[in-house]
Symmetry: none
Subunit: 234 residues, 2 copies
């Protein structure tokens, strides 16, 4: 199971810690580490903001220094969107997620809300992890940044449960629909002038054909035609 | 420039609207639409939470109904992580981002914080957009959900999607078709017993939605409905 440590360095608001915990658990991560949180720990404001990610908050480990927080990790990323004068490899969130899933215990450093990571923290990282953003408005909310990176680490595929498409109807059912509709339209005087009927029929058949209807949908449409044309026959 | 509309349906907290606006602008999106925001608009709480994404908030468009909010769009996604009994294609955020970058004006529906999207809103969508999450803790903060989807729309990957055939009709045209058909069926006594009307309407809307109709086809179908229902009115 991929479970990189999410390391918040000198976080300021308890609410943001709670929201980061929620975003972590949304993507199956639960190793939260806090380096010198400004308002101490535990912080009452974190719990309601976590929307039930209590186990992440209760398991949070507290460290005095970034060095201590990363001691057991084999690969560390510094999450920052800024361009820095640091001779570090830069990877995007997607590549980092793939590398993290590939193995080894990794961690990702996030800076305080107001100022981001210090150069002294970034120095400790193997690589800078960047989320591609609008260069004119690049400051991400910490929960959004944690969420995107956790999402990329999770890298799950959607199981297409419930998307089960019904198989398309048989051509016999489709032709039955064509003929039902055309009969009703004939009765309603739709095909005029008569010499255009062939073209009009083709247009309708193409339309219904391209709709890729299943049996149930054909049944529904025939009910519609029957209902609309009932009075015409009386 | 890819700029899908982000449509918040009945959002509750102004703060969340502001955070969604911030996450949008982080990835270059600025078309924010609000359907019946609970606390009215403008909402004072949105501005500080947007961290400077004022232009998104100031340009927000307000609508009374979801139908009105999507009228000019050609493709609509419903963002939900729930499994639903809805016969809709399900796409993940990455695929949706790629499809949105490929062209056509798209929009993404997000439900209210407490309850998500209603089935009546989901029915209006072409597809369900799902972010793969931890099934045991799947409820995403709205800013995180908007952020991940905006990130995927922004994403720099080259789209392999080729030129489409005819562009799909706008949602305004599609809703016009829905209402024309439903009015005709109402006149014909199709909706009975009356308590089933809502389900019957959803079935029909899902069927027409999934047919991926273009403008010309909608015009043709409206001619068919008019022809079949003409005599009912006489």
């Amino acid at each position: 199971m991929t479970n990189p440590a999410i390391i918040l360095v000198k976080p300021q608001l308890g609410e943001n810690i709670g929201k980061a915990a929620r975003a972590m658990l949304n993507f199956g991560l639960d190793d939260l580490r806090l380096v010198a949180p400004r308002d101490g720990w535990p912080n009452e404001a974190a719990w309601p903001a976590s929307a039930g990610a209590d186990k992440v908050l209760e398991g949070a480990k507290i460290f005095k220094t970034t060095e201590a927080a990363i001691a057991d990790l084999s690969r560390v990323y510094a999450a920052t969107v800024r361009t820095r004068d640091m001779p570090k490899p830069v990877v995007d969130a997607r590549s980092a997620g793939a590398a993290i899933r590939a193995g080894g215990k990794a961690g990702i450093l996030f800076g305080r809300e107001s100022a981001g990571l210090s150069n002294d923290d970034i120095v400790l990282a193997d690589a800078i992890l960047t989320i591609p953003v609008n260069p004119d408005f690049s400051s991400l909310n910490i929960a959004v940044a944690v969420g995107i990176i956790a999402y990329e680490c999770f890298g799950g595929e959607v199981s297409l449960q419930g998307a089960a498409e019904e198989p398309p109807a048989t051509k016999g059912e489709l032709v039955g629909l064509f003929e039902h509709l055309e009969g009703a339209l004939e009765g309603a005087g739709y095909f005029h002038p008569p010499e255009r009927k062939a073209v009009m029929v083709r247009t309708l058949r193409n339309l219904l054909q391209s709709a890729n209807l299943n049996s149930q949908q054909i049944h529904t449409l025939r009910g519609v035609i029957k209902s609309l044309s009932r009075d015409l026959k009386n």
